[in-house]
Structures are given as C-alpha cells and as structure tokens.
C-alpha cells in the first residue's frame, strides 16, 4: 500500500488548527510548497513531522528532509521509508 498526497493533504487539514495554519483559502495539493504556499515555519514543520512519524510508524531523518520542499516530496520520503508502503510512490490525489 502506498501513501498518497491526498492522505497527507487530509492529515494537514486535520492538523491545521493545531499547527496554526490558515488553509481555508489555499488549495493544497502535492505541488504545494510547505514553506511558501502553506506558510509553515520550522516549528510547524517539526510538529507535522512528529505527527507523520507517529501515524506511519517511521523515523524521518534530517538527511531525508534535505530535499523536501513540497507535499509530494514528503509523500516520496514516507513511501521510501514506510514499512507499510510497497512499490512506487502513488500520488492519486496530486
């Protein structure tokens, strides 16, 4: 099973209050930049990563984050390291 951008976007919407993100007027997709489109700062990002680590039972290292800019990049990393994910990255909702 692969993790999709749709799932991550749904996670983000669920967390937006907790992360203090204004997503109401933003169309969030796989291509959305975490920093520029979603307004995440390092603290939001850390909260989000901790949430993802718990949900998908993975450890996201700092090296993994070097190339992360968009939701799709996160999906890619998760699919690469998640034991639940198999096969190439699925990105149905992107």
């Amino acid at each position: 099973m692969t993790i999709s951008s749709g799932e991550i976007v749904a996670d983000l919407h669920e967390l937006s209050d907790q992360l203090d993100l204004d997503l109401e007027e933003v169309e969030v997709s796989g291509a959305s930049s975490l920093e520029n489109d979603l307004g995440m700062d390092s603290l939001n990002l850390m909260d989000f990563l901790v949430f993802l680590e718990k949900k998908y039972r993975v450890k996201i290292s700092d090296e993994h984050l070097n190339d992360v800019e968009t939701i799709s990049d996160i999906v890619h990393v998760l699919n690469e390291i998640s034991p639940a994910a198999a096969g190439p990255t699925g990105d149905a909702a992107a």
């Binding site: 209050d17 307004g39 850390m46 990563l49």
Partner: protein, 397 residues
C-alpha cells in the same frame, strides 16, 4: 481546560486591586531602592509583606486557590509596581510564565499540587529555556530527558532563570535524548537531587531580581511531571502572559521618567523662568505623553486578546494551536523600543546629572533595557514576526 471568568473585573477583583494599590502606596512607595545585591526572594521583608497581604501570584485561578485576576487588570497593576520598583515588578510577575504552562498542560494532579502550594504560600516558580549555545534557537536545546519506566531523567545546563534559587519548582525545556524532534517541558521540584542552581548573575539593571544558571545531572522526576504537548509550543504559550506583563513594566518606568522630569524642570531655571515654561521642554513632554499612551494601548490590546482566549472552554488547546500571540510580541517589541526612546530622551533632559548615580533617572535607563532583550531579543522577534505574519499575505495585519 477552562478559564474561570469573563473579561471584566468583578467585585472580588476590584477588592483585590484596592489591596494591591494600598500595598503600592503604603509600602512599596516608601521602600528603599534595591541595590545590586538585593534579591526579592520569599524571605525578603518586602516580599513577606506582599505575600502577607495575599497579593503574590495574583493571576492564579480560583480553582487553584488564587485570586484569578485577568491580564488586562494585571497590566495596570504591573505598571504601578514598576513605577516604584521595576525589579520587584519583574520578580513578582515572572512566575506567570511557568505557572501558566503548568496550568494548561500539566496533569490535573500535578497542577493542583504545585499551583495550590504557590497560591497558598505566595512562593515562586521558575522557567528555564535559555542555554548558552542554543541561544534563541530553541530547537538546538541540548538539555535532554529520558523516559525510564514511570520516571524521567533530565540532564543539561541552562543559562538564565529568574527566581530559580528560591523557587519551589522549575519548568525546564528539554529534548528527548532518543528523538531530536521531541521536546517537552518538565517540572523539576527544587529539592530534586542533581538539580543545582549556579551563582546569581549580577545584572546592570532590574536590581532586586535574582537570575541564575542551573545544571541538571541525572535528575529523576516522576513521568507525570512531563507537560503535554510540544515543549517548544508550550514554552511559546507560557511566554505570552509574561511578555505582555514585561511590556507593561515599560509603562511604569515611563511614567516615573515623566514625573521625575517634571519635578526637575520645576526647580531648574532657564532664562529666569522654570524649565517647565520652556517650549522645547514642553514639546519633549508632549511627545513623551503620546508615546506613553501608545505603550498602554498595545499592552491593553494584547491583554484583552489573551483574556478572551483564556476564558474559552478549550483555552489550553486554543493557545497550543496558536503558540505565540502576535499582539503579545508586538507589545513587548513596541514597549521595549518606545520605552527606551522615552528614557533616553528624558535622561538627556537632566544634563550631566542624568548620567550620574546621584539621580534615579539613570537607573530607569538600565531597567528599561531588559524589555528589548529578555524573552526574545528584537532581532529574533522581528524574524519571527516576518516569518509568521508578513511573508504570507493571508496573515498580514
């Protein structure tokens, strides 16, 4: 978690304010000015009187045995304390930082126990965020905690913590030794083996305030002492209240500066007339009054916003979601900068006397300085403001 009352002060709060003012007028106003060695700990005679009058930790809610005074009222109270003694005001208000973190994010039992004692005994608590290497980059915090069964073990060094050496407990920001993204705030009782406050920092201003470094060596505390939520955000929430009250210290200092100026100018002759009748002096004081009004406005606005959030049923969650309250940061920045301009101009108005130890105005300069430094220097807060409230159009004010 819920707030205990609405925004307006009720009859009980009004009675409390009367008692507070009686202490200020009857005791604080006549107390000797603190020197570099003075520490307002819980054995200092002035603190004893403050505590005996039931005034200490006035923001603690009724359910923990406190008077539950809203922040909006606290702004005015702090301004009155700081008019006479900014060091006393700082020492008295800073426990709001630790206590609000505990009130919102501690377990009911731990919060009840420690905040109940604080309300009953008029005692202090301290908070430890700052570290020498991490500086304001709190994500680099090197103090760690380990979860071992039903205990936590804390290790590390902290640089500054006010009221620490005599606080009954402290709240330390630490990182999970096994997960560098997991931060928590941990309550450490003062008598915990391995917890060691260092020698007091001698400060250039805020005399009367005791601020210390600390080390934690294999400090074992119950697991229930870990506050819930991301520690970095929990600290941000705690800082909202103390930043607003720190900003309010500027109001008292600025009022004092104005009144000292008027007193001096009434006696100083220029061209055969008192300086108070000089147009340049009048313009200066007009400018000061305008700036002083702006200090009050930003503090009141931030406090109203804080009180409205605090009164919500879901206050702890609402604060955690938001973390930093923009208006609190704006208030601290504005009061630090404008307050500094006010006392700088005022001290200039005393001529050479304004630079001597013979006149209290030089003390006001040194006292005002801390507002732009403590709990985030202006460079740090400008960067935070830009990142959170300017870069994205939807967040701009």
């Amino acid at each position: 978690m819920r707030g205990p009352r609405g925004a307006g002060p009720g009859a009980e709060v009004a009675g409390f304010v009367d008692d507070f003012r009686a202490f200020v007028a009857g005791t604080l106003a006549d107390a000797p000015a603190p020197g570099p060695e003075t520490v307002y700990d819980d054995e200092h005679p002035l603190w004893e009187k403050f505590r005996a009058a039931g005034l200490a930790n006035w923001w603690l809610p009724a359910r923990h045995g406190g008077p539950g005074v809203p922040l909006r009222v606290s702004v005015d109270l702090i301004a009155e304390l700081s008019y006479h003694d900014p060091g006393f005001a700082f020492a008295a208000m800073l426990p709001i930082l630790g206590s609000r973190m505990l009130e919102f994010y501690g377990t009911a039992e731990v919060a009840d126990r420690y905040l109940g004692e604080m309300a009953k005994g008029g005692t202090f608590c301290a908070a430890l965020g700052s570290e020498v290497v991490a500086g304001s980059e709190l994500a680099l915090t090197a103090t760690t905690f380990r979860r071992e069964g039903d205990h936590l073990v804390v290790d590390g060094e902290k640089a500054f913590s006010t009221n620490l050496a005599f606080g009954r407990f402290c709240l330390a920001l630490a990182r999970n030794a096994e997960d560098h993204r997991d931060f928590s705030v941990v309550l450490v009782p003062a008598d915990t083996p391995g917890f060691e406050p260092g020698p007091r920092w001698l400060m250039s201003g805020l005399h009367g305030t005791g601020t210390y470094p600390a080390t934690f060596t294999n400090c074992v505390v119950p697991a229930a002492n870990e506050l819930s939520g991301n520690g970095l955000r929990v600290l941000e929430v705690g800082l909202n209240g103390s930043r607003i009250l720190m900003a309010a210290i500027a109001i008292g200092i600025a009022r004092r500066a104005r009144d000292l100026s008027m007193e001096y100018a009434g006696n100083k002759q220029l061209g055969g007339r008192p300086l108070t009748q000089n147009a340049v002096f009048a313009a200066r004081m007009g400018q000061l009054e305008m700036e002083l009004e702006s200090l009050k406005s930003v503090c009141w606005r931030a406090a109203d916003e804080y009180d409205a959030l605090y009164a919500r049923e879901d206050a702890a969650a609402a604060f955690h979601g938001q973390g930093v309250l923009k208006s609190a940061v704006m208030a601290k920045m504005h009061c630090g900068q404008t307050g500094w301009r006010i006392v700088s101009a005022v001290s200039e108005g005393f001529g050479g006397l304004g630079y001597t130890e013979a006149h209290p105005v030089q003390r006001l300069l040194r006292d005002m300085r801390h507002i732009s430094l403590v709990e985030g220097g202006d460079d740090v807060l400008r960067e935070l403001t830009y990142g959170r409230y300017v870069r994205h159009a939807s967040r701009r004010g």
